[in-house]
């Protein structure tokens, strides 16, 4: 599979369902972890990730190639998550963040997606920062997006994203120090 654009093109233009399957396999975990940084809940993020794939499977929006496929897909996912948060703010619900099974699911996903133990530790520290810092750190540190791509996904200017990223790193460093993270090893 290339960057996902060709798979999506096969699905959209030729009706090849395997194209969509490839996209789901390639992007599901990363998108889910990114959406977790927005909604703060792995289960909700999973549903929203599913919603994202259903949306591109039903509405079949056109991918123009102005950005990478991942940026485009994450942007769609983010919009869905923002909609969800907007609706959720209207209908107050009981937070489920602290459920033990949710913690284990997130750890499982971290292990599967991030793989490196050191990065998993960083991700755990990230989860304690505010959502905006989590998002920018996830996109740039784990998804390896450029500032421009992160700015596209977050619908912000590059300067704004760089500023947020600077503060997010500072905050993450502080958090890691608090947890006794040994920088010498990295």
């Amino acid at each position: 599979m290339d960057n996902g654009a060709s798979s999506y093109r096969r699905f959209r233009d030729n009706g090849d369902e395997h194209g969509l399957d490839e996209i789901i396999i390639g992007y599901r975990d990363g998108l889910m972890l990114y959406l977790t940084s927005i909604v703060g809940n792995i289960h909700t993020a999973e549903e929203l990730t599913e919603d994202t794939f259903v949306l591109i499977g039903t509405k079949k929006p056109k991918f123009k190639g102005n950005s990478s496929f991942k940026t485009w897909l994450y942007t769609i996912g983010r919009n869905i998550a923002i909609d969800y948060l907007r609706k959720k703010s209207r209908h107050a619900s009981v937070p489920m963040d602290e459920l033990p099974e949710m913690q284990s699911d997130e750890e499982e996903l971290e292990t599967a997606y991030i793989k490196k133990e050191q990065q998993i530790t960083v991700h755990k520290a990230m989860r304690k920062l505010n959502p905006e810092y989590q998002q920018i750190l996830w996109l740039t540190y784990f998804e390896e997006m450029s500032s421009k791509e992160a700015a596209d996904v977050m619908k912000k200017s590059i300067r704004s994203v760089e500023s947020i990223l600077y503060r997010a790193r500072k905050s993450l460093r502080s958090q890691l120090e608090k947890e006794g993270f040994d920088y010498e090893k990295t």
Binding site: E17, L20, D21, I24, I25, R28, I42, H43, E46, T49, E50, F53, V54, G57, T58, D105, E108, L109
Partner: protein, 246 residues
Amino acid sequence: MKKHEDTIREVHRRINEYEAEKKLRRTRNFKIAAAVTPVCAAAVVGVGLWKGGALSSDNAKMSGSNANIIATEQNTTEVNTVPAVVTTEATIKQNEPATAEVKTTEAIPVQHETTEAAAKQTEPVTAEVKTTEAVPTQQETTEASESSQGTMRDMLAVKSVNGIVYLQFISSDVYTCGEYIGESSEFIGFPEEGSIYLSNESPDVIILKFTADNEVTLKKTDISPEQYQQEYEQMKEMIDSKRAAF
């Protein structure tokens, strides 16, 4: 948390569900459109006809009242049948060139056309037109008759003086009394009160004088008194029967 396969299955299930719902919605919309379109078309046609005046109640009234128009005109004819006797008489004399006959002659087609209108009920428009023309003429005759007192009606019936039938006529010409013939009671069809004179201006014109200001001019006809009597009786009989019916 779901596995990749579960997610894929779930995503495809939801996509298929969405497609099925979309198809169902399209089918339902098509059925609704198919049901509503003829109704809308009928409504449009109905409104079109209504606005065009085809369904207007005026049309129904018009078509339904045509017969009534004829009937009304028939009644009008019946009411004005007394002066119609005069017009019948005029028919007999219409070929005479006298200028004094002009107005009376106008009444001739009125009588006949009105009768035609009554007979031709299947042609209401033609009947209407003819009758409309006839009405004022008849009224004119009636007015002229009524202006000469009630005795005029009797006088208009049979007027035979020495074997010659005279007919009342209305003219702008002035006739003056000449030789005295006799009292009106002595002659057929004349009222009891009044005197009859020959006119100075024409030998064919006689004058029936009731008072100094009330006189009637009559003109000579070619028909015999018997013939005129017969026609008069027939006419009178018809008039009486119609008047009773009215």
